[in-house]
């Protein structure tokens, strides 16, 4: 069994890596396995976690079994969940051509809830908090900041300000406004360059782990 597991791991790993050379039957096979297995895995996990544990047990708590297989008693049913179930059933109406349009109702519900929820959450944590955090004294709280830090503070202030100018939609990027927007783009580019440089480093260790599996665990060429 252990031999089989190792060879299977090696086979699948090399199958994915072979894609770097070009698309080929080996990759297609691993891809087919991957898609089938992962889709099945998620159906199962969703079924037990969402449908069974949240919906079924929520509506019919007295049907719940504990780890030992006995019925658990004394939990109040949550009939609110039935609304979710009804919306889910309406979704399935798509399968019937005549009443398929009704599946837009649950969609409308989801869109409304998502839009409303994120509107206020993004507003609070992306707009308000970020503005508040930018308001810091340029020279440090007690005037003891080093030149290095002061320059940093000024850069943060200028960068945030000009970055926002870049995003302005209702004014052409021309003249002084255009120059400010260009400064803003520069700041965005530094941000992107920095994040990229930062990530290059951390991605390599994932590959090292895989190569170590191939030559170490599987083929025993390295200890």
């Amino acid at each position: 069994m252990e031999h089989f597991a190792l060879w299977l791991g090696g086979f699948l790993t090399l199958g994915i890596f072979s894609f770097l050379y070009k698309d080929n039957p080996w990759y297609k096979l691993t891809e087919a396995i991957y898609v089938g297995i992962s889709a099945g895995y998620f159906v199962v996990v969703y079924f037990w976690d969402n449908f069974y544990s949240k919906f079924w047990v929520g509506v019919f708590p007295h049907k719940r079994l504990n780890e030992a297989g006995e019925l658990v008693a004394g939990v109040e049913p949550d009939y609110w969940l039935i609304i979710g179930g009804v919306l889910g059933l309406l979704m399935l109406m798509r399968l019937l051509p005549k009443v398929g349009w009704i599946s837009r109702w649950p969609l409308a519900f989801i869109v409304g809830a998502t839009a409303g929820l994120w509107l206020i959450n993004y507003f609070a944590s992306f707009v308000m908090v970020q503005i508040q955090n930018t308001v810091t004294p340029l020279f440090g709280a007690d005037y003891n900041a080093s030149l290095f830090v002061i320059v940093g503070n000024i850069v943060v202030a200028v960068g945030t300000f000009t970055g926002l100018i870049y995003f302005f939609f209702s004014k052409e990027h021309k003249g002084a406004f255009g120059s400010a927007a260009r400064v803003g783009i520069f700041f965005l580019m530094i941000t992107f360059g920095a994040s990229f440089g930062y990530t290059v480093m951390s991605r390599m260790s994932l590959l090292i782990g895989r190569i170590d599996f191939l030559f170490g665990d599987w083929l025993g060429m390295i200890r």
Binding site: M91, S103, L107, T114, I131, Q132, P137, A157, T191, S195
Partner: protein, 422 residues
């Protein structure tokens, strides 16, 4: 986070407790004060008195209803035991006890030395609770006096967030105002966005080459706004595609997105007057799993060789894998996401990238309708407010600190309060 200096707190409570002791009526019913009542819980009995390390109890224990909640919380605060010191402290912690409706005391939490507050989140409306806190030494426990019973209250509006509500109304009002202005026919200017100007050309290219267009709406479900943004853009893109009579293919990683995607494309084809050209096969579900989805989409890219790829929505580590593979098959790629960490990869590997805000503005921009454009103008009001606040805030805080000018400092405090979220 807290801007209060730590030292002012106990003092404040001592003054408060004095006030309430002498003018009990001014506190209302929601603040119950420490009252001397004998407590009959056993301090540690097993150890002989001589070896016991007895510590002083906490003082000024106050139990107050948590403001602006649904009545599920009670806040406790106290002055720590005088034996609770930073160095060589004899206090090793505190235990919080609760008495529900005059029943038995129940230990609800253990806290570290130095603690002077506790937030009890396990209370219910309609019941009375009183509390005491005992100070722990290595082998003894000294209870404090017990607070008078208190009932948690429900409030209907969170006044602490009033500033957020007002700011949200101002911003929302600005957006709606400009939508209305535009609807009444006033011309509003919106600058060109390069990535969106290229959409027409990119679709045209696919038509000329006779190759399909790939649309990837990110890997999150419908409960993420970026997916919604992707679908609104899909509506516009599909409309142009229907006009050009090009093939669109949209592999998705969520069933709900599949349903919504089909609905969107179908409507666009109907609007273009070609409902017969639509087919459900344009949108395919693959798998919910991140990298399984990526493996399949990579395969589709190299086999179908799309002329144009749209990568719009929420992306994670897969952003670069998808963008590089798309690039290797020579597709024109228009990408966009609101995840700052993934933007650099799109910038590096795609032809056009919608950065953050541009992703959400894209559908309005592509629609070309005046009222949609109006909403973009409303967003700019928000940016203007933000920029003004940043400018004024930094100037006042810097000047106020430098010369200690009180009224300037007040402006800063006011400004920070307006933008505080708690």
């Amino acid at each position: 986070m807290s801007s209060h200096p730590m030292t002012s707190r106990p003092l404040y409570f001592i003054i408060l407790s004095f006030l309430f002791t002498f003018f009990p009526s001014c506190g209302g019913s929601s603040i119950a004060l420490a009252q001397a009542e004998p407590i009959d819980i056993a301090t540690t009995q097993m150890i002989p008195d001589s070896e016991q390390v007895v510590v002083e109890p906490v003082t000024s224990l106050i139990a107050a209803d948590h403001k602006y909640d649904d009545g599920g919380m009670i806040d406790l605060s106290w002055v720590p035991s005088i034996d609770d010191q930073l160095v060589a402290s004899r206090v090793i912690g505190y235990k919080v006890y609760r008495i529900e409706d005059e029943g038995e005391p129940e230990m609800i939490s253990e806290l570290a030395p130095g603690s002077n507050t506790y937030n009890d989140q396990s209370v219910e409306r309609g019941k009375l609770y009183s509390y005491f806190v005992s100070t722990l030494s290595i082998n003894a426990e000294t209870p404090s006096v017990r607070t008078a019973p208190i009932e948690p209250q429900r409030e209907w509006l969170n006044y602490e967030l009033l500033n957020v509500l007002i700011m949200a109304l101002v911003l929302g009002g600005a957006v709606i105002y400009f939508i209305e202005t535009a609807r009444r026919g006033k011309k509003l200017f919106v600058r060109k966005i390069a990535g969106l100007e290229a959409v027409d050309e990119a679709i045209g290219r696919a038509t000329e080459m006779g190759r399909p267009i790939l649309f990837i709406p990110g890997i999150l479900d419908m409960d993420d706004v970026q997916t919604l943004a992707a679908l609104t853009i899909l509506g516009r893109v599909a409309r142009i595609i229907a006009d050009y009579d090009t093939k669109i293919f949209m592999p998705v990683s969520r069933s709900l997105v599949m349903t919504a995607g089909r609905e969107t494309i179908k409507a666009s084809y109907q609007a273009a007057g070609r409902p017969d050209a639509y087919s459900d096969d344009m949108v395919t579900y693959i798998t919910d799993e991140q990298f399984g989805y990526v493996a399949a989409v990579d395969g589709i890219m190299v086999r179908e060789k799309p002329a144009t790829c749209f990568l719009l929505g929420a992306f994670f580590a897969e952003s670069l894998i998808l963008a590089e593979t798309g690039n290797s098959v020579g597709a024109i790629q228009i990408a966009g996401t609101a995840r700052p960490a993934q933007l650099p990869f799109f910038i590096a590997a795609c032809d056009f990238t919608l950065i953050g805000e541009e992703l959400f503005a894209a559908s309005a921009y592509l629609s070309g309708e005046p009222k949609q454009m109006g909403s973009l103008k409303g967003q700019d009001v928000g940016k203007a407010i933000a920029m003004a606040a940043i400018l004024i805030g930094i100037l006042t805080v810097t000047i106020g600190d430098a010369w200690n000018v009180e009224w300037i400092q007040n402006i800063t405090t006011g400004l920070v309060d307006v933008f505080s979220t708690r």
